[in-house]
C-alpha cells in the first residue's frame, strides 16, 4: 500500500472498503455465534435448572420492609408508633371482572365513591400482581362482613399491616408531621431496593427530615412458591433492620399546656431549653389530626383543611412571619449599648410622639400623653416607643441589621425540620435588591419598635431570646435529642459553640430591665409575677396588623377581631440562672401583657416546678 496519495483513487478506496466490510461481517458473525452459544447454554444446558425455578416452583424475592422507627418525647412517651391494622387488598390480575368485584364490595361494605376512585388511581401506578389496598384500617364489623363472603371474592383478601399512628394527634402534627402514601415524584427519588414493600414515606415534619434514619434497611426473603404463587417454603431470609427510634427534646405535657393556653387565638408557642438548645414546646394553633393523612385523607376533608380561614395546616411556629413589635426592644437596647450610642443612664424625653428633623409626620407613641423622661430601664419596662425611635435612628439601619443578624433574625435557625422560613431583617442592601428603592430614615425609625419591614418567626424569636439568656452564647434549636443506632442510644452531635462576645455589663442592664417588665409595679407583664418564687425576664409586644391614620386613635372595641393587633411575649427564667426561653404569638390577641404573657407564664411555671421536683427527688 503506498503511503501517500495526491489524488483520490476511487478503485483503491472501493477495494479498501470492501475488505473492511468483509472483516466487519466476519466479526458480526463471530459475535452472533457468541450470543447463540450463550443462548444454547441457558436454554439447553441450563434449561432444567431454570425451568425448575420458573415452572412449578418459582423463587420469589419477597421484600421484607423494615419497621419504621418510633418517635418518643423527652420523657419517653410515644408520639409516633406503628399499629397493626387490617386492610382489604386486591390483586387486579387475579380478578376476572374487576368492575363487578368493586361494585359488589362497594355494596357490601358501603365504601364511599372517592375511595374507589383513589384505588383506581393507585392500581394503575402499582406494578402488576401487587396486592393493592382498597380499604385501610378496617373495622371489626367490616372484617366480619367480608370474612363471611370471602370465597366469592377471588383475588381479594384481608391483610395485616403495620401502619403509622400518632396518639397525640393535633398536638404533634406540626412537629412530627406525618407519613403518607409514596407518590410518583417520591418514587423517582427513593431507592428502589429500599422501598420495595414500603408504602409510606415521611411527608412533613420530623417524619420527613429524618426519613433516612426512621426508615431503616429493607431485607428480603427468597420464597419458593407453587404455580398459584402460594408460598411453599422460605429458602433464605435477610432480615430487615428497623429504623432508628428518635427521642425528641419535646415535652408533650408542656406542648399540651401551650396548645390549650392559646385557647381561642391562632398563634404559636416555642420554648427552648437554653443549655442544650433542645426545643421543649413547638406549638402552632389551630392544628389538625395527622392520622387521616396516613390512610389517605378523603378529598372533602382535605379541601376543608385547605380552605379554612384559620389555616390549620399552616405551621405558624416554623413558617409564620410576624412583625415582632416591642419584643425586639431588649435587643435594640443591647445594640445601642454595644455600639456605644447610648448608656443605661442616658435620658430621653417622650412627649408622646417623635419627629424627624424638618418633617411634619409624627411617629406616635402607644401612650398618647407620652412617658415623660425615660432611661433605658424605664423605656423597656413601659415599652416607650419614642425612646426606641430615637435609638434606632442613632444606630442606623446597617448597624441594626448587623447586630440582629448575629442573634439569628432574618436567618433560618437550622432546626431539624424542613421548610423553615427566614423572616426578614431589613437593610439598605436588601431594599435595593428586593424593591430597587433606596432606604428612608423614617423606615429606620419604625424598625426601632419592630414594625415596618421586619418579620420574625416564633422560632426565631425564641432562639434569639435563648441566646440573650445564654449571655451571647448562640443557641442552636433542635428537636431530636438522641436516636438509637443498632440498639444503642446515641445523642445527636452538638453544633460548635459560638459566642457573640457581648459586654456582660450591657447584658445585665438589659436583663434587669426585662425583670422589671414582669416584677415591677409598672411593668407591662406584671400579671404573671404573682405566686412565683423565682424571677422571669421578659418583654411584651403588640404588633400592628392595621395601620391607624395620623389623626385617629386605635380603639380595639371599634375594629373587627381580624384587624386587632397581634399579642407577643418573649421571656426566659429563672432570670439569673436561665433554663427555659419562651416566645408566644397570639394572632389578634390585642395586648402582649394580658394575652401572650400568661401563656408563657404557665409553661415556665410547669417546667421549673418539674425540674425542681426532680432536683428534690435526686437529693
Amino acid at each position: 500500500m503506498p503511503r501517500t496519495y495526491t489524488i483520490k483513487n476511487p478503485a483503491e478506496e472501493n477495494r479498501i472498503f470492501t475488505g473492511r466490510a468483509i472483516v466487519a461481517m466476519i466479526f458480526i458473525l463471530l459475535l452472533s455465534i457468541g450470543l447463540i452459544v450463550r443462548l444454547v447454554y441457558l436454554q439447553i444446558v441450563g434449561h432444567e435448572h431454570y425451568a425448575t425455578l420458573a415452572k412449578n416452583n418459582h423463587i420469589k424475592i419477597s421484600p421484607l420492609p423494615p419497621t419504621r422507627g418510633i418517635i418518643f418525647d423527652r420523657k419517653g412517651r410515644v408520639l409516633a408508633d406503628n399499629v397493626p391494622t387490617y386492610s382489604l387488598e386486591l390483586i387486579p390480575e387475579q380478578i376476572k371482572d374487576l368492575d363487578d368485584t368493586l361494585a359488589r364490595l362497594q355494596e357490601l361494605l358501603d365504601i364511599p365513591e372517592d375511595k374507589i376512585e383513589q384505588y383506581q388511581k393507585l392500581r394503575k401506578r402499582e406494578k402488576r400482581f401487587t396486592s393493592t389496598p382498597l380499604l385501610l384500617r378496617m373495622s371489626e364489623e367490616e372484617i366480619a362482613k367480608f370474612a363471611a363472603v370471602r370465597p366469592y371474592f377471588p383475588g381479594v383478601d384481608i391483610h395485616a399491616r403495620l401502619v403509622r399512628h400518632y396518639p397525640y394527634d393535633i398536638l404533634t402534627s406540626h412537629v412530627i408531621g406525618y407519613v403518607g402514601r409514596i407518590n410518583e415524584n417520591e418514587l423517582k427519588r427513593l431507592s428502589v431496593s429500599e422501598y420495595r414493600g414500603t408504602h409510606h414515606v415521611g411527608k412533613v415534619g420530623i417524619e420527613l427530615a429524618y426519613e433516612t434514619e426512621l426508615h431503616g434497611k429493607a431485607g428480603y426473603a427468597e420464597i419458593e412458591t407453587n404455580a398459584q404463587s402460594r408460598a411453599i417454603s422460605t429458602l433464605k431470609t435477610v432480615d430487615p433492620t428497623a429504623g432508628s427510634n428518635l427521642h425528641l427534646t419535646l415535652d408533650i405535657d408542656l406542648q399540651k399546656i401551650a396548645y390549650d393556653a392559646l385557647d381561642i387565638y391562632n398563634g404559636a408557642v416555642v420554648a427552648i431549653e437554653i443549655k442544650t438548645g433542645g426545643v421543649l414546646v413547638f406549638t402552632s394553633r389551630p392544628s389538625f389530626d395527622p392520622n387521616p393523612f396516613v390512610y389517605g385523607i378523603d378529598s372533602k376533608s382535605y379541601k376543608e383543611l385547605q380552605t379554612s380561614d384559620a389555616q390549620p395546616m399552616f405551621n405558624r411556629a416554623l413558617r409564620g412571619q410576624y412583625p415582632p413589635g416591642s419584643t425586639i426592644k431588649p435587643f435594640m437596647a443591647l445594640a445601642g449599648l454595644e455600639y456605644q450610642v447610648t448608656h443605661p443612664g442616658q435620658k430621653t424625653y417622650c412627649p408622646g410622639y417623635f419627629q424627624l428633623p424638618n418633617v411634619k409626620h409624627k411617629y406616635r407613641d402607644w401612650k398618647r400623653g407620652g412617658h415623660g423622661t425615660v432611661d433605658l430601664n424605664l423605656a423597656i419596662v413601659q415599652s416607650c416607643d419614642v425612646y426606641f425611635y430615637s435609638l434606632a435612628l442613632s444606630l442606623g439601619i446597617d448597624n441594626i441589621h448587623r447586630f440582629f443578624t448575629k442573634f439569628g433574625f432574618g436567618e433560618k435557625s437550622g432546626i431539624d425540620l424542613v421548610g423553615e422560613l427566614s423572616g426578614l431583617q431589613p437593610s439598605k442592601q436588601w431594599k435595593r435588591k428586593a424593591r430597587n428603592q433606596s432606604w428612608y430614615p423614617g423606615e429606620t425609625v419604625i424598625t426601632g419598635i419592630g414594625q415596618g419591614y421586619t418579620q420574625v418567626t416564633p422560632l426565631q424569636l425564641a432562639r434569639a431570646t435563648a441566646t440573650l439568656a445564654n449571655r451571647g452564647k448562640v443557641v442552636h434549636p433542635h428537636l431530636v435529642g438522641s436516636f438509637t443506632d443498632n440498639g444503642i442510644l446515641k445523642p445527636v452531635e452538638a453544633k460548635p459553640e459560638t459566642s457573640l462576645a457581648l459586654n456582660p455589663r450591657n447584658i445585665d442592664a438589659v436583663v434587669s430591665a426585662m425583670i422589671n417588665v414582669v416584677h415591677s409595679a409598672r411593668g407591662t407583664a406584671r400579671a404573671i409575677s404573682r405566686g412565683i418564687d423565682y424571677q422571669i425576664a421578659g418583654k411584651t409586644g403588640t404588633a400592628q396588623v392595621f395601620t391607624v391614620k395620623q389623626e385617629k386613635r386605635y380603639n380595639e372595641n371599634e375594629i373587627a377581631f381580624k384587624l386587632r393587633d397581634h399579642a407577643l411575649f418573649m421571656a426566659f427564667a429563672p432570670a439569673h440562672d436561665p433554663q427555659i426561653a419562651v416566645a408566644v404569638i397570639a394572632e389578634n390577641g390585642g395586648h402582649g401583657g394580658s394575652v401572650a404573657a400568661p401563656i408563657a407564664g404557665k409553661i415556665i411555671r410547669q417546667y421549673l416546678q418539674e425540674s425542681s421536683d426532680e432536683d428534690r427527688n435526686a437529693q
Binding site: 500500500m1 496519495y5 495526491t6 489524488i7 483520490k8 483513487n9 476511487p10 483503491e12 478506496e13 472501493n14 479498501i16 472498503f17 470492501t18 473492511r20 466490510a21 466487519a24 461481517m25 458480526i28 458473525l29 459475535l31 452472533s32 457468541g34 450470543l35 447463540i36 450463550r38 443462548l39 444454547v40 441457558l42 436454554q43 439447553i44 441450563g46 434449561h47 435448572h49 431454570y50 425451568a51 425455578l53 420458573a54 415452572k55 418459582h58 420469589k60 424475592i61 421484600p63 390480575e93 406494578k127 402488576r128 400482581f129 431507592s191 428502589v192 431496593s193 420495595r196 429493607a218 428480603y220 427468597e222 404455580a227 404463587s229
Partner: protein, 376 residues
C-alpha cells in the same frame, strides 16, 4: 437477492415492483424489516399483557417512522453529504442546550420539549455523527492520515461525551461506535487498531473513575447480580430464568410465566428479548438472530455497491451500528454484558429508537436507489 439490483433499472416487473421502485424502496430490506416488525407486534401483545393500547401506540410510531424512512429514501445521497456539517452542528448545539437546561432544571435531562412532542437530540446524533465523519474523511484521500483521524476522533468524542454526561450510557456507546466504524471502514490501519485496544485496556481504571454511581452499580451488578437481588440484580436474575426456562421450543405464544406473572421488569422495553426467548425458545431466537443477520448483510451489500466514498462509509457505519444495537441488547439480557439502556432494535416498545433506526434504513435505501448509470 443480488440479481435485481442491476436489472430493476430497466425491466418493469409488476405494478407493485414498479411502485416500490418509484418510492425508492429496497424490496429485500423492506421484507425483512416487515418480518421483524410483525414479530415485534406478536411479542409486544404478549409481553404487555394483551394491552391493545400499547399496540396501537406502537403502530402509530411505526407509521411515522415508515413515512420518515420513505421520505429519506427519496432524497439524493448528494444532499445528505451537502448538509452533513450543518446537521451535525445543529445536533451538537441541541445537546449543549439540553445539558444547560438540565443543569437549570436539576437532574437528568435528555429531552427537548417542543410543546406538541418531545425530542431527544442524542438520537439525532446516531445518524448525523457518522454523516459528519463520512463527509470529513471522504473529502480527503483514503485511507485517512494521522491528522484526519485525530480530527475525526475529536468529532466523535464531542457528542459522545455530551451524551454520556446526560447521563445516557447506552446512546453514547451507539454514537461512539457509529462514528468509529466510519473511520474503520475508511481504512484505519490495523496497527493503530491494535495499539488503541491496548491503550483502552490500560485506561479502564480511569474510565471507571469517571462513571456515575448508578453506572458503576450496573457494572458491579453485572459481575455479581446476586448481591442486590431486590434492586440492580433483579433484572438479570429474572431474565436468565425466563430465557433458560424457554428451552428449545419455548412455552408458546403468550405462554411466558415469568413476564406474565411480572417477575420480569421492563418486559416490553429493554428486556423484551427475555420474553421472546421464553415464549419461542432457542429456535425462535435463532430465527430472530438470522433475520437480523440477513438485514445487516443486505445493508453491507448496499454499502459495497455504493458509488462514492461518502455513501459507502455512511452506509457501512449505519449497518454496523444496527448490529451493535442487537448485540448490546441481547448481550445484556442474557447476562454477558452490563445493563445499559439499549432497546432491542425494531422490537422493543418505544418510539425514539424506532424512528432513528428506520431513518437509517431510509438513508441506505436512498443510497441504493439513487445511482447514476455507469457502464461497467
Amino acid at each position: 437477492m443480488k440479481t435485481e439490483t442491476r436489472s430493476e433499472q430497466f425491466v418493469p416487473h409488476s405494478l407493485l415492483g414498479n411502485l416500490l421502485r418509484k418510492l425508492h424502496i429496497d424490496i429485500p430490506l423492506l421484507i425483512c424489516l416487515l418480518l421483524v416488525l410483525s414479530l415485534s407486534f406478536l411479542i409486544l401483545y404478549s409481553a404487555s399483557g394483551q394491552d391493545i393500547d400499547i399496540l396501537i401506540r406502537q403502530a402509530t410510531r411505526m407509521l411515522i417512522a415508515f413515512v420518515l424512512m420513505i421520505v429519506l429514501a427519496h432524497i439524493n445521497p448528494y444532499q445528505f453529504k451537502r448538509y452533513s456539517t450543518i446537521l451535525y452542528g445543529i445536533g451538537v448545539t441541541l445537546l449543549v442546550a439540553v445539558l444547560i437546561m438540565g443543569q437549570i432544571g436539576k437532574g437528568a435531562q435528555r429531552w427537548l420539549d417542543l410543546g406538541f412532542f418531545r425530542f431527544q437530540p442524542s438520537e439525532m446524533l446516531k445518524i448525523t455523527a457518522p454523516m459528519m465523519i463520512a463527509w470529513y474523511l471522504s473529502e480527503n484521500t483514503l485511507p485517512p492520515k494521522w491528522r484526519q483521524m485525530g480530527i475525526a476522533g475529536l468529532l466523535i468524542l464531542i457528542p459522545t461525551l455530551l451524551i454520556a454526561k446526560q447521563p445516557d450510557l447506552g446512546t453514547s456507546i451507539l454514537v461512539f461506535s457509529s462514528g468509529a466504524m466510519v473511520i474503520f471502514f475508511a481504512g484505519l490501519s490495523w496497527r493503530f487498531i491494535i495499539s488503541i485496544g491496548a491503550i483502552i485496556a490500560s485506561l479502564t481504571p480511569i474510565i471507571w473513575h469517571f462513571m456515575r454511581d448508578y453506572q458503576r452499580a450496573r457494572v458491579l451488578t453485572f459481575l455479581d447480580p446476586e448481591a442486590d437481588p431486590l434492586g440492580r440484580g433483579y433484572h438479570i436474575i429474572q431474565s436468565k430464568i425466563a430465557i433458560g426456562s424457554g428451552g428449545i421450543y419455548g412455552k408458546g405464544w403468550q405462554g411466558s410465566t415469568q413476564a406474565q406473572l411480572d417477575f420480569l421488569p421492563e418486559s416490553s422495553t429493554d428486556f423484551i428479548f427475555a420474553v421472546f426467548a421464553e415464549e419461542f425458545g432457542l429456535s425462535g431466537c435463532l430465527v430472530l438472530i438470522a433475520l437480523y443477520i440477513v438485514i445487516i448483510s443486505r445493508c453491507l451489500y448496499i454499502s459495497i455497491q455504493a458509488q462514492d466514498s461518502y455513501s459507502r462509509l455512511l452506509a457501512g457505519s449505519l449497518s454496523f451500528t444496527f448490529f451493535v444495537y442487537v448485540f448490546v441488547n441481547i448481550g445484556m439480557v442474557i447476562g454477558i454484558l452490563p445493563v445499559v439502556g439499549v432497546p432491542l432494535p425494531l422490537i422493543s416498545y418505544g418510539g425514539t429508537s424506532m424512528v432513528t433506526l428506520l431513518a437509517g434504513f431510509g438513508i441506505l435505501m436512498s443510497i441504493h436507489t439513487h445511482k447514476k448509470f455507469l457502464p461497467t
